[in-house]
């Protein structure tokens, strides 16, 4: 009983408890950032909506009575109803389940491709910034060159050349989106490496990799998190673009891009087939962009408006 009442008391104001736990870890930057982020109503609202969409997509298919690929040709292309909240597509498949399953793939692309981009960008940028000099100049020149290239064309050719496998697409997109990440990490490392704590680490005889991994990268984590959050919608956009052209996720698998493509093919007669997936896709991108902006303001107060 006593245990219960104690947790109840603690539970009442759980927010300060979380804050204190973070304080114990000694990173007051993160605590400050979290406090600032919580004040940003748009960002918090976006975060809530985004989490709800994720839950909807991940858990939804388990709760729905329909299978995403089960066809019911007798109830094909019906509008939203009590049985099928989002209606059914031309093959009689329940659209709500398809939006959920498609969302899983779209969100997974966002996650996996961003991780790929993150890994390449952070390592490349940190190395360039840390070595500096001519190596840095030529490494960043290379990034500039890649920036100027028509990448979508290459992703399209890659997809045609190596089959339309989903994992290949994840990697191909990740390989395209690492450039801004590398730039940001590099400029952060460049300004940090002249500071005293790095000098101290050097004089203690630490290895280069230890200095990069333990001392420099943690200090550029803030901007990296921001750019990663903003990379997720960019990546999802590219996936949907490819799927829309028929080069990404292949039917009967669905992603939001596939569903939008199927929807626009029949939009005159069955507009809901376009509207539901398009709405989910747009709202998700909206939320991710606002979360990214909010994180930027929270982690770098100087850049905040006024």
């Amino acid at each position: 009983m006593t245990d219960h009442s104690e947790t109840a008391v603690l539970g009442k104001d759980s927010a300060p408890v979380i804050a204190e736990e973070e304080l114990v870890e000694g990173s007051s930057l993160w605590k400050d950032a979290w406090a600032r982020l919580r004040k940003n109503k748009v960002a918090v609202g976006s975060l809530v909506v985004f989490v709800l969409i994720c839950l909807f997509c991940v858990l939804g298919p388990f709760l729905s009575p329909y299978d995403s690929n089960a066809q019911d040709l007798f109830s094909g292309a019906e509008g939203p109803s009590a049985d099928h909240w989002f209606g059914t597509d031309t093959l009689g498949r329940d659209l709500m389940v398809r939006v959920m399953v498609g969302g899983r793939i779209s969100l997974m692309v966002g996650l996996v491709a961003t991780v790929v981009a993150l890994a390449i960008g952070v390592i490349y940028g940190a190395t360039a910034g840390y070595i500096g000099g001519k190596v840095d100049a030529s490494m960043m020149r290379f990034v500039d060159l890649l920036y100027a290239l028509p990448f979508t064309i290459f992703v399209i050719l890659l997809m045609v050349a190596f089959g339309r496998s989903m994992w290949l697409m994840f990697v191909a997109i990740g390989c395209v989106e690492w450039l801004s990440m590398a730039r940001i990490v590099r400029s952060g490392v460049l300004s940090l490496k002249k500071q005293e704590f790095v000098e101290a680490a050097v004089s203690l005889g630490y290895s280069h990799s230890r200095i990069i991994l333990r001392h420099l990268i943690p200090n550029v984590l803030g901007p990296v998190i921001v750019i990663a959050t903003l990379t997720v919608p960019a990546v999802m956009l590219l996936e949907a673009f490819l799927s829309f052209l028929g080069l990404g996720v292949q039917p009967p698998n669905a992603s939001w891009g596939v569903l939008i493509n199927e929807g626009q093919a029949n939009m005159e007669i069955y507009p809901w087939l376009l509207l539901f997936p398009a709405a989910f896709f747009a709202v998700t991108l909206f939320c991710l962009n606002f979360i990214g902006d909010g994180l930027r303001d929270a982690l770098d107060p100087k850049s905040a408006k006024d």
């Binding site: 028509p150 979508t152 050719l157 949907a240 673009f241 052209l245």
Partner: protein
């Protein structure tokens, strides 16, 4: 300045050469052949077809010949559409894409840049919030969502504009709006950011303290620097409009380069893919060169980077 331009030109050539090589390898690595079809073809005939297109030669030799041809402006025959050369196809569809692309880009600039300036000058009023939330919505509605939605509303429900084809001026409206709005949103946000950075400078405060009128500060002192982010974005915007045209030309059934590219990639029309890739890349390289020059002209400090 001349040396700078010459250097960048040389670099651009090298980039194009690299792109050509990579595309060639990718196209060659694609399984299947452009000449395979549903019907079985007698092996002798297939061999003749391959010999006609030069596919019987080893890969390295093919690369050298095709590169030599491209350098002379000859992109070769279409491997799928008999009796048509890549140059013919480009000559027919390039003007269409140029028209669509330039109207879109113009629309993006005309809508985006003034909106961004206004938002920065009137910051934190509804004249800032309104355009900025509209532009956020624009960024989150990519071309392949915006296109069908516009077609649905203005074409099918209101019946004001045609939704497909490419005949008169009214056929340009929906596709150009679809392509342009997305980049208008980007230009608005970049211009706002750039102008705000300028307006927050110490020398602006000094100018205000000295009694320089606000419009002089905005138009004479801040505009030049404030537009740099938007100008830098012109290169990526052109690249984006090209790849956006793949989608928009497919949605609105426009006979431009974008639709040809998607079809060529799917049909394994090797020469057409190569020719179009080089053309797209050349346009982007030239645009980036122009952007670099304008940037250096606006901000001479960049020259020594």
């Amino acid at each position: 300045m001349l040396k700078f331009i010459a250097l960048r030109l040389l670099q651009g050539m090298l980039v194009l050469l690299g792109i050509y090589a990579v595309t060639f390898v990718l196209v060659a690595a694609t399984p299947g052949s452009p000449f395979s079809s549903e019907r079985a073809i007698a092996p002798e005939i297939l061999a003749q077809i391959e010999a006609f297109y030069g596919y019987d030669k080893p890969l390295g030799e093919r690369f050298i010949t095709s590169l030599g041809n491209v350098l002379q402006g000859e992109f070769g025959p279409s491997a799928v559409y008999a009796n048509r050369t890549v140059t013919q196809i480009i000559a027919e569809s390039f003007p269409v894409s140029i028209k669509l692309g330039s109207i879109s880009l113009l629309l993006a600039l005309v809508l985006g840049v003034p909106a961004g300036i206004l938002a920065a000058v009137k910051r934190n009023t509804w004249l800032d919030y309104l355009p900025m939330s509209v532009s956020m919505a624009g960024i989150c509605l990519p071309t392949f969502v915006m296109g069908p939605l516009l077609a649905l509303v203005f074409g099918l429900i209101l019946k004001m504009l045609p939704v497909a084809g490419w005949y008169g001026p009214e056929y340009v409206v929906l596709p150009a709006t679809t392509l342009g709005l997305y980049y208008a949103a980007y230009f608005a946000r970049l211009t706002r950011g750039g102008m705000l950075e300028m307006l927050n400078q110490d020398w602006v405060r000094t100018a205000r303290a000295k009694g320089v009128p606000e419009h002089t500060i905005i138009w004479k002192h801040c505009l030049k620097g404030g537009l740099i982010p938007a100008i830098t974005f012109l290169g990526p915007a052109l690249a984006g409009i090209i790849s956006g045209s793949f989608v928009v030309e497919t949605i609105f059934q426009i006979p431009g380069l974008g639709q040809w590219f998607v079809r060529a990639a799917l049909n394994r029309d090797d020469f057409l893919v190569l020719g179009l890739t080089v053309l797209f890349a050349a346009m982007i390289v030239i645009m980036n060169l122009l952007v670099d020059i304008v940037q250096v002209a606006l901000n001479p400090r960049l020259k020594y980077d």
